[in-house]
Symmetry: C2
Subunit: 223 residues, 2 copies
């Protein structure tokens, strides 16, 4: 019968999700770098071999984690946009802060993304986890672009800032770089007399000012 295959499909997806949960749990304990396939399998109370039925290899499992991470980040960006209806620029600012909160509240997700960011996509099958990640990334990007376009329309972002898609990529790059710096080099930053929070404030403010109209109008208040 057909509904049997359907149930099996659901069970498969459920188990896949469980395995990702197990991987996240292990990564939370020992760090994503030190996580081994064996520990993940043990945490899920399955044999290691079965893991390779659900994920091609370890990088593939990490990509599955990345997909979740990007989905979560996307949700945070949407929420950020929703809670700042004032202006497009305020939305972008809220997304910056949301990105920071994400990196702190979901460190494993964040670490997975940071690792993912190091590699170029190998580009192949459209059913791969990698492809799913790029799709998720697209959605995040679209969310940013929508707020940038809105900001240009409502005047909170200067029109000559550049093409919205390119500005979105730029801001993503800026924030990714800053957050990585703040997350991994806090001791160095403190050694220079500041701290991660001040760096992030500075970075958000500078970026926001860069987007805003050139002269200090009342509009420019909320940096």
């Amino acid at each position: 019968m057909n509904y049997i295959a359907e149930r099996r499909q659901e069970e498969k997806e459920r188990r896949r999700a469980d395995l990702i949960d197990a991987a996240l749990a292990v990564a939370a304990e020992v760090g994503i770098e030190a996580m081994t396939m064996d520990e993940v399998a043990r945490k899920a109370r399955l044999s290691r071999a079965l893991l390779y039925v659900y994920f091609q290899n370890k990088p593939d499992l990490l990509l599955a984690i990345c997909e979740r991470a990007l989905a979560s980040l996307h949700a945070r960006f949407e929420a950020a946009a929703a809670q700042e209806p004032a202006s497009g620029r305020a939305q972008i600012g809220a997304m910056g802060r949301a990105f920071v909160a994400f990196s702190r509240e979901e460190p494993v997700h964040y670490d997975a993304l940071a690792k993912f960011a190091l590699h170029s996509p190998t580009g192949l099958a459209s059913d791969s986890n990698e492809h799913a990640c790029l799709k998720c990334g697209d959605r995040v990007h679209e969310t940013m672009v929508a707020s940038i376009e809105r900001g240009i329309r409502d005047g909170s972002i200067r029109a000559d800032v550049g093409p919205p898609a390119l500005v979105g990529l730029t801001l993503w790059g800026y924030m990714a770089g800053i957050i990585q710096l703040a997350a991994t080099k806090s001791t160095v930053i403190e050694h220079r007399g500041y701290d991660a929070d001040r760096l992030i404030d500075q970075a958000l403010r500078l970026a926001s000012e860069a987007l805003g109209p050139r002269q200090d109008l009342p509009h420019d208040r909320h940096a």
Copy 2:
């Protein structure tokens, strides 16, 4: 005698340098990720065990590569400052372009740094390679800060931009993020209708504008 120990010391340093050269050569062939200690030893025509006399472990060898990378980057930054005597802001812009050139002309050095950037310093012995890296990073930072301070003095950078040290960290983070994005996600960027070069131009321009005086003065020309 004493000069024997001295010669041995020199030989040791020479061999250490040779080993790093070998590592760089291997990394250039197979990528820094896939490089193995065995290949490095074979390239240097030594046993693998000897490698562990000169470097504690593989990460330690990578840190030695990072130190070289940072030294090279520092030299590029100094050169950038020297060739743009016009203004502090122009110097900073030149450093941004120098960073981009570095990432493209010394990909192995760049990759080592990008990997290094993922980890927090473990902070311990002051004779470790890690400590040497942080020292080198300090020098790079100082070079940036000097140009920022100069820019504030000569008026090419607005005085209320923030504390120079913090601005330096911010710009470093911005550029590191953008370059990583441009280097690893060029296919994604092209998929959105742009390319790595346009992203970099946009990022450099936006950052430079953020530093400059608020209204478009003639000064603002060289973005």
